[in-house]
């Protein structure tokens, strides 16, 4: 009954988790903004990780199979290329601020989708949304 919307919900959950992982990475970079030799990290884009998860996740080859839970996508963290300061640090506060704003916007979007899906399900059950 809620097949389609639960798939969207799973994706929205993964999207929110990905945004949180990005936020954690940005916070870690900024906390090490003045650490000599620290290499800034970044999280791979959502499209890449979500696609990647498909390779390793449970597959649904029959209609009766339990839906593969993709919400526990491990966000791939990799080193961010960039110019290093004389002390070997590659963190740029400006770039981190941009990444933080993107993470915030992505998280808000994921929550908005989840909220509106909740409304759709409630409406289909005949309750006031």
């Amino acid at each position: 009954m809620f097949g389609k919307s639960s798939a969207v919900q799973t994706m929205a959950r993964a999207f929110a988790a990905h945004a949180a992982a990005r936020q954690a990475t940005v916070a870690r970079n900024i906390s090490n903004a003045d650490t000599p030799g620290f290499r800034a990290a970044e999280v791979a884009g959502f499209a890449e990780t979500y696609e990647d998860a498909g390779t390793f996740a449970l597959r649904t080859t029959r209609a009766g199979h339990v839906g593969a839970g993709r919400a526990t996508v491990e966000a791939a963290v990799r080193a961010r290329p960039g110019e290093a300061a004389p002390n070997g640090n590659t963190v740029s506060i400006e770039r981190e601020m941009l990444a933080a704003a993107e993470a915030r916007q992505q998280h808000d979007m994921a929550l908005a989708i989840t909220r509106s899906l909740g409304g759709v399900i409630r409406t289909s059950l005949g309750r006031r949304s």
Partner: protein
């Protein structure tokens, strides 16, 4: 949620490190005219477990102390010189500015992670 709480911890460790740095800068500036004072520096290290930043041991700047000519000074030797401090004001001010900038960036990250947690919990309240 765990990631968001972790980013709060990262930001907090960053703020702690930067405030410790500011503290040493103010100690250095306060002692800029203290004879024989060596400026304090503290080393930043990335936490091996990935939990933000850790502070290394406090170190004293090994640069040679300048000899100041002042025969009237109680510490002056037979040639009329005494040791000054190796605090460089320009360096300290630049350090303080950098620490302040990084502290503010950490604070903003803390605030943003807190707001994201709050909006996540807002979903449950409906």
């Amino acid at each position: 949620m765990a990631d968001l709480l972790q980013s709060l911890a990262h930001a907090a460790s960053g703020m702690e490190a930067q405030s410790r740095r500011i503290r040493h800068v103010t100690e250095n500036i306060a002692n800029a005219d203290t004879p024989g004072y060596r400026r304090k520096t503290v080393e930043f290290r990335a936490d091996p477990d990935g939990a933000g930043v850790r502070l290394g041991a406090l170190r004293l700047d090994p640069r040679p102390l300048p000899m100041i000519y002042d025969p009237a000074h109680p510490l002056a030797d037979e040639t009329g010189h005494h040791q000054g401090s190796n605090v460089d004001m320009v360096l300290e001010i630049a350090d303080a500015r950098e620490a302040q900038r990084s502290y503010e960036a950490n604070l903003r990250m803390f605030d943003q992670a807190r707001q994201m947690t709050a909006s996540l919990l807002e979903l449950l309240r409906r």
